[in-house]
Structure formats: C-alpha cells, structure tokens
C-alpha cells in the first residue's frame, strides 16, 4: 500500500514536470531563459573583449603605415617610355567597362 502510494505520488510529480515542460508556460520560460543567457553571454564577451583588446590605437595605426614609407621610399623608379604611355592609354580606353578585362 505504502509503496503503491509512493509510486503514485512519484508518477504525479513526473507528470507535472512533463506537463510544465511541454506547456506554453514551459516554452515561454525556456525562451526567456535562452534570451537572457544569450544576451548575458554576448555582454560578458563584449566587455571582456573591450577590456582585453584595449590597446594603443595610434600605435596600431602607425604599425600599419610606417613600414610602407620605408619600402616605397627605397625603390627605384623607372620613367615610362612613350610607347608604354601610349599602350597604357590605349588599354584603358579598350578595357573601359569591359568586365572581361
């Protein structure tokens, strides 16, 4: 009898949990928890990223630009011949709006 009663109660409990999970309320609850989790994770990631990646942006900019100065300035520049200039202009005209070019 005791076992039967206990089993019955357990069954009722399980049913209630299952019902709650599959009900509309259960769905909404899961949706809210999911939304909160995603937003909170994104916020933590953004804040962490902002803190960890805070660097000297001016220096980062210069690191991009300064090596170019050295390389471009130390090259040899060759004057275009008349023929080169002519063919360049001809090619520009020929290839204007040519998607195959």
């Amino acid at each position: 009898m005791d076992k039967k009663e206990k089993g019955l109660k357990e069954q009722i409990g399980i049913d209630m949990v299952v019902k709650a999970r599959s009900s509309r309320r259960g769905f909404l609850k899961k949706a809210i928890v999911g939304a909160v989790a995603v937003t909170a994770t994104a916020a933590v990631a953004k804040k962490t990223g902002d803190v960890l990646l805070k660097e000297d942006v001016q220096q980062a900019y210069l690191n991009d630009v300064l090596p170019g100065d050295q390389v471009l300035a130390s090259r040899q520049y060759v004057e275009m011949t008349a023929e080169e200039k002519k063919s360049l202009v001809a090619n520009l005209q020929k290839n204007y709006k040519n998607p195959e070019a």
Partner: protein, 346 residues
Amino acid sequence: MSDMNDKDKKNQVDPKENSRREFLKEAAGGTLSAATLAAGAGALLSGSNEAEAKATWGEWFQKNYRLMTDEEKKESVDRLEKRYSEEYGKKTTVDSVPAQEGVLFGYALNIQKCIGCRRCVYACVKENNQSRHDPEIQWIRVLKMEKGNFLEENMDKGYPDKPGIQVGGNAYQNSGVVLEGEHYYEPEEVPEKGHFYFPMQCMQCEKPPCVKVCPVRTTYREPDGIVVIDYNWCIGCRMCVSACPYWARRFNWGEPNLPAEEMNPVTHYLGNRPRMKGVAEKCTFCLQRTRQGRYTACVEVCPVGARKFGNLLDPESEVRKILEKKRVFRLKAELNTYPKFFYFMD
C-alpha cells in the same frame, strides 16, 4: 498508519502557500531575467548614442551595396542621413550618385613642384571626415626625401680612377632615402634645402589587389575607376590592408574620433561618410566632389599646382596631356596593378 498520515499531511503543501511561493519565485526570476537582459543589452549598446542605436538594426541587416535595389539604396541612405544628422547635430546629406558614363579618373602629381607643405593632407582629413585623434588617420602621406647627387656628367667618374674597374659612376648616395620618422618633419619653412617631397595615397589601380583578396566583396572598382568600400559590409579582416602594395589602406583600430563641429556634412555613401570601428578606409578621389564635376580637395588646396586630376578617356584633359608630354613614372609598375596615379617631372 496514523503516524504516516500525519507525516503525509506535513508533506502536503497548502495549495494557497504553493501558489504564493510559486508566484514569488517566478516574480524574482522574472525580475532577475529582465535585469540581466537590460544589463546585457545596455552593455552591448554602450558607447553608442541613441541615433546610432536606432539605425544599427537596419544597418546590420542591409545587403551589400552593389546588390541593393534602388529602393533599398534610398532606404539605406535616408537612414544614414537621419542618423548622422542626429549624431552630429547638423543637416547631413549622404549622396549615392553613381559613376558618370565615359569617365575614367586619373591623377598626376608633379614631384618637382611639391614643396612638402602637407596642405593636401589636412584638406583631405577635413573633407573626408577622417579620425582626428587617437588615432589620427591620414589617407595622404608626404615623405621627406634626401636629394641624391647622381649627375649624368659623373657617370664615368667612378672610384677607382683609371686604370681600374669602374663602379658605375659617383652614385654613392641614393637618389632618395627616407630617414626615420621623416613623415613627421616639422621644419620652420618648406621646402628644405637638399630635400624633395614624395606624397603617396591610394593609386586607384586598374587591377587592384585589395579587391581581389576581399572575402566579402565589400571593396570593388567602380566604372569610373575608383576603388570603393561599402563600410557596412566590411568585416574588418584586414586582407585588403595586407594586400595593398602601396600601404594606402587605413584600418580603424578604434572608434574614430570626429568632433561634430569639424564633421563635413556633405558625404557620399561610398566615400567620406563617417566610418566605424573595425573597417578599412582609403582615398576615394573625393568621389563626393568629383562625381559632381569638382576637383578633389587635395588638388584644390595645393598652393603650387603640383596636383592634376582629370578624365583619362578625354584626350583634352590635363592628365592625358601630362601623359603625352611629360616624363612620367608610376609606383611599383612591375606588379601590373596599373595604378592610375602618375608622378611626373617637367
């Protein structure tokens, strides 16, 4: 049996109590969720003002500019105009004028005339809404170079003197050497003796390597030859920055600092509209001006007329005349990028 019943009664929860407890639990949970959601959203939108926040959703979900219909382009432009007008507190226009038919822009710079005053740099910064500080972004760089002493008459006078092996003339000094930090030269007056100046910016290549490497095709060459960037589609991968052989691209490592009072409100979608953190930018031949038939800001401001600009398809344009008559060279011509930025000498 009776003991068990008492125990059961104790275990049985009063439906009212259960309901109140459940209510309180759910209320607390709900409040916590709402607070977390608000804090999260707040953290995500922090640093952005209201105007930006309003436009962000629409901007994130818009298409690549090239694939937009005319209506979508208009919608996007209207959204940006509204946003910038609110953000900078002045009526801002975002142009979307396409390339003109029969126009291929080209640029020529007289390297003998340039005096290194860098007025072009500052005019460009002002016109194109570049970040003013931290970082200070400049699309044009003017390098101070030392003049060499390579003279034609010294060609056969190399060391050692005859008899011996000639070393190719007295070219002991390179014709151009950039000294460390020489971009930031601050002389009392320019030009300085023994130096010449070498301005550099985007070469608007006909075969641009930056376009080839872009994984999202946010950067492309327009029919008028200008290489543009759709800032909203840029993912900040920096492939274009690495690919450019002219170091012409700039990357917004941080949020650009553009004071509202210094913002140029006449903008173009593909040109000088304010950029955001994490996108690449570069010279666009001031397309917000040139597509309206005006000169670029750098051409306009140059006090010695060293900068020339025009239509390469028009035989009567200045730039075509220069190509015909002057001594011209291009940077890294051997890479076959076909730059449309030419340096010339009289």
